[in-house]
């Protein structure tokens, strides 16, 4: 396929290189196509470079791999994308990577904490289905149980309760991280019900072999 990759950061470079290796015709859309370093990088990947508009115009698939702040400019530069496949790799991260700039506003956990004044709220046991809580051992694997909270002692208690059930507890940070854990729960539910996977599956966290 003819693929335009807008953005030559970590994600764009790696995807473009791998797709070129797989035989696709990859063009990076960049701000300064006369930049010799950029040209050399693209050449090393057996890819072309062009302006964002040039890359997008000839592509069937346009890949948006720029920082969130650069999205409006990149899309404006790309011009008319009607009918094209637009692969969106962006995340609207805040600059300190602590949250999302758009899309999230609160969480059940934060609302619970507002109502239960003084309680040490920990978000946990929400990201997977009850059948996995009944048996969180998948062979030799203890499923991870992600949790978030603001009180260190309460988090220790909750983590121990997860271990008592057979989970491997995983700390994801302050209670605002419930804004991440509740949507993750819905991914599991969506796969289980809408995508008809049933309930005998789970998210696991794995380390790269040898690391």
């Amino acid at each position: 396929m003819k693929i335009a990759v807008i953005g030559m950061g970590n994600v764009g470079s790696i995807l473009g290189r791998r797709w070129a290796e797989a035989g696709h015709e990859v063009t990076f859309g960049v701000r300064e196509k006369s930049d010799t370093k950029t040209q050399a990088e693209a050449k090393a990947m057996k890819a072309s470079i062009g302006t964002v508009a040039e890359a997008a115009a000839k592509a069937q698939v346009v890949v948006l791999a720029v920082p969130w702040k650069a999205v409006p400019e990149a899309l404006a530069a790309a011009g008319n994308l009607s009918g094209k496949v637009l692969v969106d790799c962006t995340n609207p991260l805040t600059q300190d990577l602590s949250g999302l700039e758009i899309g999230t506003t609160t969480s059940a956990a934060e609302e619970v904490a507002k109502k239960a004044k003084g309680a040490k709220v920990v978000k946990i046991f929400n990201t997977t289905g009850a059948p996995n809580m009944a048996n969180p051992k998948y062979g030799a694997v203890s499923l991870p149980m992600l949790y978030a909270g603001d009180d260190a002692d309460a988090k220790k208690v909750a983590a121990q309760l997860a271990k008592d059930v057979g989970f491997e507890p995983v700390d994801v940070g302050p209670l605002t991280a419930a804004r991440l854990l509740e949507p993750m729960a819905l991914i599991w539910i969506t796969l289980a019900i809408r995508q008809k996977w049933g309930t005998d599956f789970a998210f696991n966290l794995i380390k790269r072999p040898g690391k």
Copy 2:
């Protein structure tokens, strides 16, 4: 520990039973403690039952395992929880399980689709780090790549591009599911950076052995 489990649905029952098995003193907080079926269920688990207020009053840990709609009533019934650990298992799911009632409003993908009129937007390549895109094989495991979009043909193209990189593509539904995938990306980023896991880890999706 003395644990009050508010709610005897799937999640509350299973957690309460397992904690009782692990040696904790579990009391289920219920609306009708005189219900004989509920009493029998609790007894079979070696747990007690009481009103929500009774269960909460004597507990060090209060576990909120009720449907989202029942949270205000449950917390009101529980009374003062100041200083207690409050384990929040709730998810603010819409009744049809298609979304979250609170907490999410939009996504980068939906904003991109608004700007790129007519483009067939697919959310993909956002839930894991660039090092995993450079090498999505963890030994024999091909990492999953979750994606969402509204155009079936565009999704097929995106799924193939994920395969071309070495991922196992996983369809999570319509483009609004980007509201789930973008927070999930931030879980990975949070573990990698704030929790100092580095980048040699990934979410995997696994099936229960024998299923």
